[in-house]
């Protein structure tokens, strides 16, 4: 008899997902899938709204990386009004640095939340620990002081976001062509030196290193499990600066293979020439791939592991993160790292990288500058824009069109978790093969291994289901050209 194993819902992730695993008569894994079971809808209903509303509405795609959506949208708006990198008319140094500051602060708090609250329980208690224990409550019971430090670190990141975006979530900083405020000296000093109930920057950097130490200790203890767990192939993509290293806010998109050879590098404004998105009937999340390579070979991985694979070195001004990345690179001897659980290692390195980048920005007087917005003339209006940033989970793209009245005519989003769809499904299959195939007894803990693999990507399934699309209560009939010829409600 064949058998189906189901995880519903996948937990300790953002959004709604489900895993199905099909076993054949011999209890071998015949198929394994992550189904994204939700969908919301932004791309259609944003149409007709004023273009400047787009980033504010579309940041509601995600509560954990709203700054990334806000900034990808802001960069698209820069293009629309005729400012920004595409036009050659740059936003002011203060504006760009304020945007970067909010972005790095979000990366810090998002990674801290994902790493400690969603992944650390397995590192400390094991993949097959009691399900009631594998969570933040279990962490509090085991080591309240540890949780107190994590809370303090995340709080600092959130307060840094507040200092430029006005509130902890869904705040506003960017406007077309710049930002709405600078960072005053009082707010800067509070973040640098701490205040009542708020740690200072040196403590932030010390606590950030604790994330890395936690991974090293776990790696020493469980090396065979971690290194052998879901080693899945994929190309690696991220935004890079002129030196070919990650730039979380701006750059060109670079894609490298297993040998770290550059497979392609391009201006993200050309993404439509590069990417297609396939759809399967069993998931609301699409499957993007490089057209030139096809779906199997051309699927990319994005996020911390991909960025660590693409990047050769961090800047000298972030020495702790730089050294940590060197150690990461040495481990695979010059090859790209495909080991799924090493994504947690890369995420810990990025927590430290963000903390050091924030320290450097806090020392930069441009953050106190007063030249905030570049206001182009009406004749500079282009009516179309693309914005890409490296969100905590990877490459995020917003693309808008607007008419002469400023109404949105078109919007397209490709978010990080959608890029990772194929590699996450490969991970689910690899873990299922290793942990579930031909077993006499399957336990809840073995099934949690599948979830542990998924959580390494810190997937944001809410982000990934922004597209308004299919209404499954409707039967649709298309002709050979894909034109909708009939539709009716299902009974």
């Amino acid at each position: 008899m064949t058998r189906r194993l189901v995880i519903d819902p996948v937990t300790r992730i953002e959004g709604h997902g489900k895993v199905t695993i099909q076993l054949d008569e011999a209890n071998r894994v015949a198929g394994a899938r992550l189904h994204v079971v939700e969908f919301r809808g932004f791309e259609k209903f944003i149409q007709g709204h004023p273009y400047w509303e787009a980033p504010v509405l579309l940041q509601r795609v995600c509560g954990i990386c709203f700054v990334s959506h806000h900034l990808a949208g802001a960069k698209a708006l820069d293009d629309i009004v005729g400012v920004g990198h595409a036009s050659g008319q740059q936003i002011t140094p203060t504006a760009e640095k304020i945007r970067r500051f909010g972005h790095y602060a979000q990366q810090l708090q998002s990674h801290v939340a994902a790493y400690f609250f969603l992944t650390a329980p397995e590192m400390l208690f094991g993949v097959d620990a009691a399900p009631e224990k594998r969570n933040v409550l279990g962490l509090v019971e085991a080591d309240p002081e540890f949780v107190r430090r994590v809370v303090a670190l995340r709080k600092w990141g959130q307060e840094a976001i507040v200092s430029v975006l006005g509130k902890r979530m869904h705040g506003i900083s960017s406007v077309p062509g710049g930002v709405n405020d600078h960072l005053g000296p009082e707010a800067r000093d509070r973040l640098l030196h701490g205040a009542d109930g708020l740690i200072g920057l040196e403590t932030v950097i010390a606590y950030a290193q604790e994330a890395l130490e936690l991974f090293y200790a776990y790696h020493d203890k469980e090396r065979a499990l971690i290194d052998g767990f879901a080693e899945v192939p994929a190309l690696n993509m991220c935004l890079v600066d002129e030196g070919g290293n990650v730039d979380y806010y701006h750059g060109r998109l670079r894609i490298v293979d297993k040998n770290k050879n550059v497979v392609d590098e391009f201006d993200y404004h050309d993404y439509l020439d590069k990417f297609s998105e396939a759809t399967e009937d069993w998931s609301y999340m699409k499957f993007p791939y490089l057209k030139a390579l096809g779906r199997e070979a051309g699927s990319v991985r994005v996020g911390p592991l991909a960025r660590a694979n693409v990047t050769r070195s961090y800047e000298d001004a972030t020495p702790l993160a730089k050294a940590a990345l060197e150690r990461f690179h040495d481990y695979t001897g010059g090859k790209a790292n495909d080991m799924t659980l090493h994504t947690n290692w890369a995420r810990a390195i990025e927590i430290l990288h963000s903390a050091e980048q924030l320290r450097n920005l806090l020392a930069d007087p441009d953050l106190q500058g007063s030249n905030l917005v570049r206001s182009p003339s009406k004749s500079d209006w282009t009516g179309e824009g693309v914005g890409v940033v490296e969100a905590p989970r990877g490459t995020l793209l917003h693309h808008y069109g607007a008419d002469r009245d400023g109404k949105v005519t078109f919007a397209n989003l490709i978010v990080a978790t959608t890029h990772n769809n194929t590699v996450i499904n490969r991970t689910v299959k690899a873990v299922a093969d290793a942990f579930l195939s031909e077993r006499e007894l399957i336990t809840e803990g073995m099934m949690n291994a599948v979830e542990f693999g998924i959580r390494a990507y810190d997937p944001c399934l809410s982000c990934a289901t922004h597209a308004i699309g299919q209404m499954p209560l409707v039967v649709s009939v298309f002709d050979a050209d894909g034109t909708l010829v009939d539709e009716r409600l299902r009974g």
């Binding site: 937990t11 959004g15 489900k18 919301r40 594998r134 009937d281 399957i442």
Partner: protein, 210 residues
């Protein structure tokens, strides 16, 4: 949530699991039980709970969070005093989950704009279905033209409701906390009042709608 026959299906949460330490479990059972869920939203209200920072540790002295997207407890295990629900209702799974919460919680709280009136996702209620279909799967700028458009429809994924609904149009809701998201201090005030048996109240000074 599945529309296929489940005779051959085993759920992970029904498989044999490592037992929890009995003393730790007993300590949790003495506390006020809270169940949490995010339906069709952005997870922002759930994270806003974390934004009470060190006060969360104090709150956890009094309450136990059982079913939640922060835990691996997939169904509400015991009768719970408080159900904390973020997001609106956008598919049949949301309906089933919300009903599960209503059945197992004494007090159900709609948290945030999406739960209260549908929020930003409810903007899709303004759009005709045919236009939505065409936008995402027929006219999508990244659709591979060599393949016919595929539309997700499968027994393993829930069907989408025609409209996005606020929670109170589906089940009875006891309290509402506005905001996108509500600030952590508002969530803390409400939970602290309920835990200590005080009447529900949100002072205007800390309430906000954005």
């Amino acid at each position: 949530m599945s529309r296929r026959s489940e005779a051959d299906t085993t759920f992970a949460h029904d498989l044999p699991a490592t037992p929890m330490d009995p003393d730790a479990m007993a300590a949790r059972e003495d506390k006020i039980q809270v169940a949490m869920i995010a339906l069709c939203g952005c997870w922002g209200c759930t994270l806003s709970l974390l934004d009470m920072d060190e006060n969360l540790l104090a709150l956890l002295q009094k309450v136990n969070i059982n079913r939640s997207s922060f835990t691996d407890i997939k169904k509400i295990p015991v009768r719970s005093a408080i159900g904390f629900v973020e997001g609106g209702v956008a598919n049949e799974e949301n309906i089933e989950t919300l009903e599960h919460f209503r059945e197992n919680c004494d007090v159900l709280i709609a948290v945030g704009a999406c739960a209260i009136w549908g929020g930003v996702p409810a903007m899709r209620n303004m759009t005709p279905l045919a236009g939505c279909l065409r936008e995402a799967y027929v006219d999508s700028v990244t659709r591979p033209l060599e393949q016919p458009p595929t539309i997700p429809y499968h027994p393993d994924i829930p069907r989408i409701t025609k409209q996005v609904y606020p929670l109170h149009e589906v089940v009875k809701i006891d309290y509402f906390i506005p905001g996108c998201p509500p600030g952590a201090q508002v969530i803390r005030k409400v939970l602290d009042d309920l835990v200590n048996g005080r009447p529900f109240g949100i002072p205007a000074a800390i309430n906000r709608y954005d």
